[in-house]
Symmetry: C2
Subunit: 218 residues, 2 copies
């Protein structure tokens, strides 16, 4: 099974592509602009030292990949979903990695979505039969993209279809020192997205870059 | 300095009293009913094997204690604050440990407070000059009250007065294997309270009782 990265030109997308490819997954970076996808793939492959990540236009990526990670900034997520809507088919699993956040007065603030999560907001734009899974929302891009950094943390996976959560949790398990945790329905993203904002603020307060969550006692 | 526990008859309150007293703090359990406070103190002292926790009516507790932990269930918190309002004086630090939560269909759900946190809701009922600090919201009562259990986790401390956060963080540091983290303003409780609900649901999913948060990378 091949894994797609939509938004593989950002730090989070490239980090995820690197980690997944490094774990042995077959990864394709998709972009509206094929040249940009190819450039990102090339840059990833240089970091890996092996030409194992491919880059294509989104349509081809979606044709090849059953699971696609949405790694664009949240502000671009709905437009990105709308642009691939016609190519999403039943069976596709879309994994939302985004967090609605803005900066104000030196602190990160959660960008409220009228009481629901960014993930639920995005899910409203999906065609029928396609569900959204939330994952990797609390993993800092900075740590993800540094292949020498041990992750040592938990990935909270949420979504309304239990089988889809299980599929995504299996993929998380491929990456060393990451543990997937079943976080229940998609609305848990209301918590996970705020946790990401908290981690950013902890980084600012403690002058670090990699604050991330590990659950003790499970 | 003496530490007060308001609501010391519940598991969270008794757990906190036990941990603080065990760490060498002078702890007074307060209750509207002095007899109940005395009974809780006695029960704690039996667990500790030393008669070091006192119990009094709330008014005496507030006269003796500069820092008071509010450990009643959230549903009783506003009434509790209203009942002690007349005895709260500038300089008192009130630490809110509560989480608004209900159970539905076998899962814990966050009890939404019109977009703000339970902590902010409680703070609306405080007299001028008294601020609220949120802490211990994500620490399971079950683990807190078992003195043989290593905590090994972080306590997120939030509040709008930096000096008050520092005071509470110093107290957290007394308890072995707990690390206080400065989580910024009181509104961070919106995140922390939801994290507590997530931990309860992780416990249910994984059939455990002590899920708690540790931040990696700080």
């Amino acid at each position: 099974m091949q894994l797609g990265i939509l938004g593989g030109t950002g730090v989070e997308g490239m980090g995820l592509a690197l980690r997944l490819a490094n774990a042995g997954a077959s990864v394709i970076i998709g972009s509206r602009d094929e040249a940009r996808a190819l450039a990102s793939a090339r840059s990833c492959n240089q970091k890996l030292g092996r030409p194992i990540i491919a880059g294509t236009a989104n349509r081809e990526m979606l044709r090849a990949c059953g699971i696609v990670f949405l790694t664009v900034p949240f502000s671009a997520a709905i437009e990105a979903v709308e642009s691939i809507k016609a190519d999403l088919l039943p069976g596709h699993i879309l994994v939302d990695v985004t967090v609605p956040m803005h900066f104000s007065g030196g602190r990160a603030e959660y960008a409220e979505q009228d009481g629901i999560s960014g993930a639920e907001r995005i899910a409203e734009h999906l065609p029928g039969g396609i569900h959204l899974v939330g994952a990797f929302k609390t993993i800092p891009a900075h740590v993800l993209s540094d292949l020498n950094a041990q992750l040592n943390c938990d990935v909270f996976v949420c979504g309304d279809v239990p089988e889809e959560r299980v599929r995504v949790m299996e993929i998380v398990r491929w990456i060393p020192t990451l543990r997937p945790l079943d976080a229940g329905p998609l609305r848990t993203a209301r918590t996970l997205e705020r946790m990401s904002v908290l981690a950013v603020n902890l980084n600012r307060t403690y002058k670090k870059k990699g604050a991330r969550y590990q659950i003790e006692g499970l």
